[in-house]
């Protein structure tokens, strides 16, 4: 069975969600914390809860408002024939047009035949499961036994129960028995007879008391068939299915590491008797090293019998998946949206490549797209500087710096992240209009993307050399010299003047500022083209930020603008 559409109303953090699922087996949900990824998994679990008793309380309602009923509606396809029969849900068939993500109340000839399931809870906290259609809005009961047949298993925060045979566990599902409890009666009998064998030792004291009682009975004339003995009473000491747990030799498997237990559960889930399953895996990476993550995902990818819903916060998990399998969850004021990274309208944006190269960015909330390593390093330095001045660091605000590796890539990258509903800010140079033009910048701004371009068509280094106080310019050249550049030659190649060997003696002039900026940026020997060099550069000029004159300049204003975006934008 496969889920085709999921709608949620008023369930925990979700006020509303409508999600049309592509025809896939793996759905990896990513998004910032509290974007309700795990709630989506819980909703699926509740819709197919295999027991009639499901404890529900006020906090399961959106904002605890019990007046608005919880409603989870799931369209499921790929159903076994018995669900289509007249005796089950044959009168409630609906059609799903996969290509158009459209639900038809009655199936069209090309449609997949599906059922709509509704799980609802009202103020009385009484959960109801129904199969319904537009023509039968009240629906009929979606029976407990049928819900169990869908075989939904959640691998969440680990509970001791999970590697036992308790009702509803994956182990219970793969055990061929109509009634597990009954099968256990035999085990109880075995325990009783084995105890009998050790009567002389284990039951010695009890039997003494039994013999005493026998004497009393005889005196009172109570008939005795055989003789009084202490014995296990099958009626009162039943061994419960929850007490039967998986062992390796004598060691209970609950002593295994967290990651191993979760991997094992995932594997068992696949083996269930229904030959199909829906597995919900909350925080797949929990307790697993990258190589085991890769192995687990391989296992999941190879399984064609089930649908997997995974949440993760790990770049290692993302790198193992393809964009087909990635879905970004966004929540604004309770309205939740799930965006498929491989959706048709996003296919030109090469998101796959970005996932590989910038997995971390996909796990953030805000992305600052930088033209190159220089900007990344410079902004890192700036981040440290902000921290020293008691401003929140970028990481704290869920903001990530992303290297676009060239001006030409900025536009597509920014559009891609924006399309996936991330907040995006672009920090670009103005010196290569062919690769990133004013027009591009405008286009991005129209998409509600913050764009920072140094004015006068200048690159960062050039802009800095115009805007910084002279001593910071000198510090820049000094740093370049320390990094091993022949700064005098570099600058002279841009401006034919005689320069003192001592940089501190260089006279300030606009022409020289320009020449230094051009030299720092020069293609043949750029001074700060690695992240660490650029960061060092920022540290060298950091004192300028205390200079009131500098604060009025373009560089400083733009960086302040960036700060404002980071804080609020």
């Amino acid at each position: 069975m496969k889920i085709r559409k999921l709608s949620i109303l008023n369930f925990r953090g979700i006020k509303q969600l409508e999600w049309n699922l592509p025809d896939q087996n793996i759905f990896c949900l990513i998004g910032k914390g509290d974007s309700t990824k795990s709630t989506i998994l819980e909703a699926i679990r509740y819709a197919f809860h295999p027991q009639w008793n499901l404890a529900f309380n006020d906090s399961d309602f959106y904002q605890c408002k019990t007046d608005a009923p919880v409603k989870i509606e799931v369209v499921v396809g790929d159903l076994p024939d018995e669900f289509f029969s007249d005796q089950k849900y044959g009168a409630h068939l609906r059609g799903w047009e996969k290509a158009a993500f459209e639900l038809h109340d009655e199936p069209e000839d090309q449609d997949e035949i599906v059922l709509s399931i509704r799980f609802s809870v009202e103020k009385d906290l009484e959960p109801k499961w129904k199969v319904f259609t537009g023509r039968t809005p009240d629906g009929v009961d979606f029976r407990t036994a049928d819900r169990a047949k869908v075989s939904v298993g959640l691998i969440g925060s680990y509970s001791e129960k999970q590697l036992s045979w308790a009702a509803g566990t994956a182990l219970a599902k793969i055990t061929e028995s109509d009634n597990l409890s009954e099968s256990l009666v035999d085990a109880t009998r075995a325990a009783r007879s084995s105890l009998d064998g050790q009567r002389a030792t284990a039951l010695k004291n009890f039997d003494v008391a039994a013999t005493l009682s026998e004497g009393v009975a005889k005196k009172l004339g109570i008939p005795i068939d055989d003789s009084f003995k202490a014995h296990l009473d099958l009626g009162s000491i039943s061994i419960r299915v929850g007490g039967l747990t998986l062992h390796d030799g004598n060691m209970p498997l609950r002593q295994l590491g967290l990651g191993s237990r979760r991997m094992l559960l995932c594997g068992i889930q696949k083996e269930n008797l229904e030959a199909h399953h829906i597995t919900l895996f909350d925080e797949l990476e929990l307790g697993l090293e990258p190589h085991r993550i890769a192995r687990l995902i391989r296992h999941i990818k190879d399984d064609t019998t089930g649908q997997y819903f995974i949440t993760t916060h790990s770049p290692s998990v993302l790198r193992e998946l393809t964009v087909d399998q990635l879905h970004v969850v966004h929540k604004v004021a309770g309205e939740v949206e799930v965006v498929h990274t491989a959706a048709k309208e996003l296919c030109e944006l090469n998101i796959q490549g970005h996932v590989r190269s910038s997995a971390e960015a996909f796990l953030s909330m805000k992305v600052i797209i930088c033209e190159g390593a220089t900007e990344v390093g410079f902004l890192r330095g700036l981040d440290n500087h902000w921290m020293k001045h008691n401003l929140s660091p970028l990481s704290y605000l869920g903001t990530v710096l992303l290297d676009a590796h060239g001006a030409s890539k900025i536009t597509s990258l920014a559009a891609a992240f924006k399309a996936l509903r991330y907040e995006v800010c672009v920090v670009g140079d103005g010196d290569a209009p062919l690769q990133f033009s004013e027009k591009d910048a405008k286009g991005l701004a129209e998409k509600d993307i913050e764009v920072l371009i140094w004015s006068d068509q200048l690159a960062l280094e050039q802009r800095a050399m115009y805007d910084l106080p002279w001593n910071s310019v000198q510090a820049t050249v000094k740093l370049a010299q320390d990094l091993g550049f022949d700064v005098c030659a570099n600058v002279r190649s841009k401006l034919n003047v005689v320069l003192d060997k001592d940089i501190m003696k260089w006279p300030e002039s606009v022409a020289l500022r320009k020449a230094i900026g051009d030299a720092a940026k020069a293609k043949a020997s750029p001074w700060f083209k690695s992240v660490s060099d650029a960061q060092a550069w920022f540290e060298a000029i950091a004192p300028a930020f205390d200079d009131p004159g500098f604060k009025q300049r373009d560089l400083a204003t733009k960086l302040n603008q960036l700060r404002a975006w980071v804080d609020h934008g």
Partner: protein, 477 residues
């Protein structure tokens, strides 16, 4: 019957039929065949009486209920169309006219090739049976044939019993069944008569049926076997006062008796006339649709003046009861208020007529007609029609539906499910009305006027005896 016929039917996967005359253990065969198959079967028949009979047999033979679904073709087709109203474009929950039903069957037939319906049908049943196939209309046959393309199909019926109203278009066995369906077996033993202790009658009927099927006639001159009797009387000879005397011995016991006229339109009224002539001792039955009743109700509903209403009611009552004229006052008969004096013969009746004139409600009408019926000098002979009307009046009075006609339609729906509410067990009907029904004794009236099939249906209605009323000594004429 072939000993292993049930197993044969259960294992069969194509399109086949069994020749199964009435009373030859057809229901038993279906139940045994369903019992022998491992998966769920659909069993379709024509009437709710048939549905009940099959279910009862299933229970008696302890066939698990999960193994079958029994339904009428009509309600199965209706449910299918209503389950998918957009696809079928069918929204009517209660079809009424024959035309609407015919349209329903066509609609259901067009649904069958749809992929999801096929999936639904195959998921629900692993095969199906149709009982009393000779009673299928040609539209019903199209539906069955469409279903047979998806599921193993086994028809049971007897073309010898195919009798129809002239308005219906019955399934043509020669054209539609024989060439396309495989003969799976024939039922040979007249079980009904054997178990009723009328073995001679059963064997005589079996022999007669073979002659009829061969297009031959049979002699009904003496000697006749036990349970078969011929009365040489001309019912239309009104000059002979004792011509109806042979009916009276049947009143001496409590067993069920059916007197049967031909189903041709000329004979229809004869049943009511005969019931009237017998003073209601035998009561005539109506067709399920109740055409006469509905046309009366329509007129009554449309009439505004209570004077005219009363006149209509009196007319109708006269068609159902004898001696109505003599108990009503002249004013009542004119549709006017009666001044009740000491000379008024039945003051209570006159009061009720006056009450109806003052307020023509269904409650008042029901009391008025009730009073006529219980008057010792009247006798009701069209009980079936009058009872139905009284039930409709009560329904209308209790539920205050918008119109009497609406109540009548609702009553008609229930009636299709529950069957005729007849407690009287001496009845007169036509071959068309009694086909498929079973009585202790049958009286075949004017046997010479019946076609071979009608004759066969009429002769086989009585499990204990059959009395043939005709001047002829060979039948059919």
């Amino acid at each position: 019957m072939d000993e292993d016929l049930p197993e044969k039917l259960a294992a069969f996967v194509g399109k086949g039929y069994v020749i199964a005359p009435a009373g030859y253990g057809k229901t038993h065969l279906i139940a045994m065949a369903v019992k022998a198959s491992s998966q769920r079967q659909l069993i379709l028949t024509h009437t709710y009486a048939g549905v009940h009979a099959i279910k009862k047999k299933m229970q008696a033979l302890s066939v698990p209920a999960s193994r079958y679904q029994v339904d009428t073709i009509a309600s199965w087709a209706l449910r299918l169309c209503l389950c998918f109203p957009k696809t079928s474009n069918w929204y009517k929950e209660y079809p009424t006219s024959g035309k609407e039903w015919a349209k329903l069957y066509e609609t259901a037939t067009t649904l069958l090739p749809r992929p999801f319906i096929e999936r639904f049908v195959r998921s629900s049943y692993s095969g199906f049976y149709v009982d009393e196939y000779q009673d299928c209309s040609s539209q019903q046959h199209q539906l069955v044939d469409g279903l047979a393309a998806k599921l193993p199909c086994r028809l049971l019926g007897d073309p010898m019993q195919a009798i129809f109203d002239f308005t219906d278009q019955p399934v043509d066995w020669v054209q539609h069944v024989y060439p396309h369906y495989q003969l799976l077996g024939k039922l040979e033993k007249p079980w009904r008569w054997h178990s009723a202790g009328a073995i001679e009658l059963g064997d005589w009927l079996d022999a007669a049926s073979k002659r009829f099927r061969a297009g031959e006639k049979i002699s009904i001159a003496a000697p006749l076997p036990k349970g078969v009797k011929r009365i040489s009387v001309d019912l239309m000879d009104f000059t002979t006062p004792g011509r109806l005397n042979f009916f009276f011995p049947f009143l001496a016991h409590e067993e069920t008796v059916i007197a049967i006229h031909s189903g041709n339109p000329r004979s229809k009224n004869k049943t009511h006339k005969l019931a009237q002539a017998l003073g209601g001792k035998f009561s005539s039955i109506e067709e399920v649709e109740g055409k006469n009743l509905f046309s009366f109700i329509r007129k009554l509903d449309a009439e505004q003046s209570s004077k005219q209403k009363l006149c209509l009611v009196i007319d109708f009552t006269k068609k159902c009861c004898n001696a109505v004229d003599g108990i009503l006052s002249a004013a009542t008969k004119r549709g006017e208020e009666t001044k009740v004096t000491k000379a008024t013969k039945y003051p209570g009746l006159a009061d009720l007529a006056n009450a109806y004139l003052a307020a023509p409600s269904s409650a008042n009408l029901s009391r008025f007609i009730g009073e006529i019926q219980s008057n010792p000098t009247t006798s009701t002979y069209r009980r079936d029609m009058l009872n139905r009307f009284m039930k409709i009046l009560r329904k209308h009075a209790e539920n205050s539906q918008p119109s009497l006609l609406e109540s009548a339609h609702r009553y008609q729906r229930d009636f299709r499910h529950s069957g005729r509410p007849i407690r009287h067990n001496k009845l007169i009907g036509t071959t068309l009305l009694v086909k498929g029904l079973e009585y202790d004794h049958a009286i075949v009236l004017e046997a010479e006027s019946m076609s071979p099939r009608e004759l066969y249906v009429a002769l086989t209605r009585g499990a204990k005896s059959v009395t043939i009323v005709t001047l002829h000594t060979t039948i059919p004429a």
